[in-house]
């Protein structure tokens, strides 16, 4: 039901030409389409509790939406706002922050994102390099972030910082700041995958108050880790959708393309690659649907809540590989046209790589699993 509605809407608003319009802009999405999503579909409020004006649905429903967005390559601040910003507010926000920001997100008047990775390009606790110092009743934030999804356009940014001299999981704090706070300098980073925009953000003596702090100073790693894991499940869901779409495009194209007097889909070399692609798409979905159930329990309670770290890494490690393999096979099976700018296959190929690299690639997540199993 949710899936059917999503497909119908996305087929309408996320056509190839709409995607390309969004890609060509620095903002990375068409404001009018985002407003339709927020006001007609109300998707940005999908898992926000009803007390803040949200729909109060769960991660399972959210993951269905993300899978379809991945399939249709929707260019929007949905992922950054819902899967980074909203999750951060739900997991770590104070009552006042939730009341203020979640309500604005529900109204469609605020987009949000999370900035935690510095120049080192890591995805674990060491990623956090920006610092916080205390200055009387105020805090001073300094440092630089890269690879921040929609960081140049978001209205609210959750910043991860650490106490000076701290390392690893110690000394980490989260602040929720208006993106226009003085000292916050944001610039768009042009990217190979143009369907999701990234930004660099510099904090220069940014002076904030306790009202901006989320939770307790220096103790935020468990919350940040959970936010990252929830976002990891979300990326995997988009990847599963992309793995399915690259398969569908390939089957459709090979059925139409005639060589040697017959559709190339009839050649066993083509069929077998397509079969492997279907295997990857289905296995990716199985991983994601399970991870979604775990994420739901991690957010709202349940016996599987403590499986989140494992389920997220299982899903991300498989879906990253599965999507990339399917996208690269899709180019190969499209032949020459797969190499053109005109056909959409390369958009998926590029998105597959950028989503693989974001929040840790397969090898990174396998190492996390190895630590659970072996250390």
């Amino acid at each position: 039901m949710i899936r059917d509605t999503a497909q119908a809407f996305l087929a309408d608003v996320s056509s190839s030409s709409a995607i390309r319009n969004a890609m060509a802009s620095e903002q990375g999405f068409e404001t009018q389409i985002w407003q339709r999503i927020c006001t007609e579909m109300y998707w940005q409020a999908i898992h926000i509790p009803e007390e803040y004006g949200g729909m109060g649905l769960g991660y399972v429903e959210l993951v269905i939406m993300l899978e379809e967005m991945g399939r249709y390559l929707l260019c929007s601040p949905f992922f950054s706002t819902v899967c980074l910003g909203t999750n951060a507010l739900i997991v770590a926000g104070t009552a006042a922050q939730k009341q203020q920001y979640l309500s604005q997100i529900c109204q469609g008047s605020l987009t949000a994102t999370l900035a935690y990775t510095g120049n080192n390009g890591r995805w674990d606790a060491d990623a956090v390099q920006a610092t916080v110092t205390t200055d009387g009743d105020h805090y001073l934030l300094n440092g630089r972030y890269r690879y921040v999804p929609d960081g140049h356009s978001a209205g609210l940014i959750i910043f991860a910082v650490r106490d000076e001299g701290s390392t690893g999981v110690d000394g980490i704090s989260l602040f929720a700041l208006d993106a226009n706070t003085p000292g916050v300098k944001r610039s768009w980073l042009p990217t190979m995958d143009e369907t999701r925009k990234q930004a660099e953000i510099t904090l220069d003596q940014v002076c904030v108050t306790k009202a901006d702090l989320m939770g307790e100073q220096g103790k935020a790693w468990p919350q940040l880790n959970k936010i990252i894991q929830l976002a990891t499940v979300a990326v995997a869901a988009e990847q599963a959708g992309g793995a399915q779409q690259t398969l569908d495009l390939t089957v459709e194209y090979t059925q139409e393309r005639v060589q040697f007097g017959r559709p190339v889909a009839g050649f066993q070399a083509v069929k077998h690659q397509a079969a492997d692609m279907m295997l990857r798409a289905e296995v990716a979905k199985s991983a994601v649907y399970y991870a979604a159930c775990v994420a739901e329990e991690a957010l709202n309670g349940g016996p599987l809540a403590n499986e989140l770290a494992e389920a997220a890494s299982v899903a991300k490690s498989y879906c990253s590989q599965g999507y990339f393999s399917n996208a690269s096979d899709a180019i190969q099976l499209h032949g020459g046209v797969g190499f053109t700018w005109e056909y959409d296959v390369h958009l998926y190929f590029k998105r597959a790589k950028s989503s693989e690299l974001f929040l840790g690639n397969s090898a990174y997540h396998r190492e996390l699993i190895a630590q659970i199993l072996l250390d």
């Binding site: 066993q268 079969a275 279907m278 991983a287 649907y289 699993i369």
Partner: protein, 398 residues
């Protein structure tokens, strides 16, 4: 998707686990973790006795309807039973072909007389069955069977001649179900009959096939004017293919979680070895162990999805990829096991060719990607049924 079982089903799980703990003792202790795939030739008589022990308390054929001696268990309960069975290390079911294939076929397609005659022995664990499908010229092209059947009016019996191959448990079995050509002029899947035959008769000879493991779970079965009674054909002559394929429809994935429990045990052995010999610090081995774990986890999620899924027009795509997925996973595990062991992997348990459990696994998994539809046949099926791509062209050889 369903990610856990109901409280009633969990109660059933506890009941199964308790029964196994209480009964897998004494003379049956030696059977623990034995007799599974790759080890089916071991302890056949003791495993038959175990089968009868299960039967006494109603733990055989639990998915069959009660009227035929089963328990009428739900799919979920069957899955749970198999999972607990594997967890306890209970031995490979020596009666699994009767319980999983012969019995369900008779329940679906057999006459009342056939059901009365054959089902009780399967439920009781006293009569074992084997399957006579593959032939030297009918492997992936299963419909190409050459074994012939004709009805001898004078004797009032069906007379069968030909050869079957890759028949597991043939030398232990009391009966074999056979597809054979009733119309000598027919080709492919037309003109076949489905026969129920007694193994102990002059016209049937069983020879073991020595496999690359050095052991013989599989056999050749030769039929030279072998006989069965007029009423031991299931359905009518010519319906054999439909009946044989009808079995495939019974595969609901009830054994998947049990199989995965066995995989889990094997992976744990590999992990234990890596920790003991220090290879758990090797970054590449770490990646490969994690990859095996990731894919085994998802195998379980995929099975849970199969259980939850109503199917889209009867087609469950996650079920269609399952054989290709698990067989490839298991093959990779064999290679990982060898690499984790290092040079020690080469050393046999003893001469002349007694393999360790992991060596046997490593070698036997080469058959996983071949039997029950090779990986190549699986990919054809996935592409054609799952993706609607063109069927392989039929080439007439003249």
């Amino acid at each position: 998707m369903k990610i856990s079982f109901s409280p009633e089903d969990e109660k059933f799980r506890a009941e199964v686990a308790q029964w196994l703990t209480q009964n897998l003792v004494g003379e049956f202790e030696q059977l623990k973790f034995r007799g599974g795939p790759g080890d089916e030739h071991m302890f056949p008589q003791a495993r038959k006795k175990w089968e009868q022990k299960l039967a006494q308390d109603g733990w055989t054929c639990i998915g069959w309807p009660k009227e035929y001696g089963g328990r009428g268990c739900s799919i979920e309960q069957q899955v749970i039973f198999n999972e607990e069975y594997a967890r306890a290390g209970a031995p490979g079911h020596v009666g699994h072909i009767g319980e999983g294939l012969a019995g369900p076929t008779l329940i679906a397609f057999g006459s009342e007389a056939q059901k009365q005659k054959y089902l009780p022995g399967i439920v009781a664990g006293t009569e074992l069955w084997c399957q006579g499908y593959s032939e030297p010229g009918a492997g992936s092209d299963l419909a190409n069977v050459k074994t012939k059947a004709y009805f001898d009016e004078a004797k009032g019996k069906w007379i069968i001649s030909g050869q079957k191959v890759w028949t597991s448990l043939a030398h232990e079995s009391d009966y074999i179900f056979v597809i054979a050509r009733t119309n000598p002029d027919s080709i492919a899947h037309k003109g076949l009959g489905f026969f129920l035959m007694k193994m102990d008769q002059p016209g049937i000879e069983v020879r073991g096939i020595k496999q690359l493991t050095g052991t013989s779970e599989f056999n050749e079965v030769f039929f030279d004017q072998a006989e069965c009674d007029a009423d031991d054909i299931v359905g009518k002559p010519g319906e054999g293919w439909a009946i044989a394929m009808g079995l495939l429809g019974f595969e609901r994935g009830v054994s998947t979680l049990g199989q995965q429990m066995q995989f889990h045990n094997e992976l744990n052995q590999v992990i234990a070895i890596a920790k003991a010999n220090g290879n758990d610090k090797d970054p590449i081995i770490r990646q490969r162990i994690a990859e095996a774990h990731v894919r085994l986890k998802i195998m379980r999620y995929n099975s849970m999805r199969m259980l939850s899924d109503e199917g889209d027009g009867g087609l469950k795509k996650e079920a269609l990829i399952y054989k290709l997925y698990w067989s490839t996973w298991h093959r990779d595990l064999g290679e990982l096991a060898m690499d984790v062991m290092g040079p020690e992997a080469e050393i046999l348990a003893s001469a002349p060719y007694n393999l360790t459990r992991l060596q046997a696994m490593y070698l036997f998994v080469r058959s996983d990607t071949i039997y029950g539809g090779t990986n190549e046949i699986q990919r054809n099926i996935i592409a054609e049924r799952g993706l609607g791509m063109p069927k392989e062209p039929k080439i007439q050889m003249n």
